[in-house]
């Protein structure tokens, strides 16, 4: 069964304290691994797509990496405005186009 699992469920960081969010997947024939940011009451906002193991992408304080079994979202020196829920999703194989989302990691960055 295609599935995406995220950990931890919640993470509290002090401003400037770097950390990583984990996304493990069992999506057969993975064709894309997506990271989204979701603020309360809003729709998910696209961050990155990773297509193959070893790929890395960066945007400001965020860096996403992909291995054959999991993806990491590294947050370097976070600021309070980085507080949000971060969602990971995968698509692949015969269900190309259908994104399987994890439950998300709720990140809180305090000053």
């Amino acid at each position: 069964e295609d599935q995406v699992t995220q950990s931890p469920e919640a993470l509290r960081l002090q401003e400037g304290e770097s950390s990583s969010l984990n996304c493990s997947y069992t999506v057969s024939g993975l064709r894309g691994l997506f990271w989204y940011r979701q603020d309360p009451g809003k729709g998910p906002e696209f961050l990155f797509t990773l297509y193959s193991a070893g790929e890395e992408k960066e945007k400001e304080r965020l860096k996403a990496t992909l291995t054959k079994k999991e993806s990491f979202l590294h947050i370097t020196a976070p600021k309070p405005e980085d507080s949000a829920t971060y969602l990971c999703a995968g698509t692949g194989g015969s269900t190309l186009g259908r994104l399987y989302f994890g439950r998300g990691t709720q990140l809180t960055v305090w000053p």
Binding site: G32, F34, Y36, G43, F46, T91, G92, L96, G97
Partner: protein
């Protein structure tokens, strides 16, 4: 560039009533999706359209949910009759290509929050 538009933003109905949600995707996006997000969970695909046609509706509860995409642009999602467990946010998304292809990034609207009493 205008984003994905959805309406209404909020809707409260009683069980067994009906409700409809509307979505206008980003101009030029061929693929349109409806996702259901229950509180505390990640979004779950209900239906995917490629232009006018349905590509994937395997997770759509067809006894009560229906969706259509008019002229390959706007879409409506209808629930009739609603159940308590349908309380959720209904997210519309669009993409230039199919998710997993190079132009497959999904762009989401702000969602329509449904409460069924």
């Amino acid at each position: 560039e205008a984003g994905v538009a959805q309406s209404p933003r909020y809707k409260i109905i009683e069980k067994r009533q009906s409700v409809a949600f509307w979505c206008n995707p980003i101009s030029g996006h061929a693929t349109l999706y409806w996702y259901q997000q229950i509180l505390g969970q990640g979004p779950k695909l209900l239906i995917q359209f490629q232009n006018n046609g349905v590509v994937d509706d395997s997770q759509l509860p067809k006894d009560r949910f229906s969706a259509e995409r008019l002229k390959g642009v706007d879409s409506t999602l209808k629930i009739q009759p609603a159940k308590l467990e349908d309380s959720a946010v209904y997210l519309c998304a669009s993409s230039l290509g199919v998710a997993g292809a190079n132009t497959g990034e999904l762009f989401f609207g702000e969602g329509s929050r449904l409460t069924v009493l």
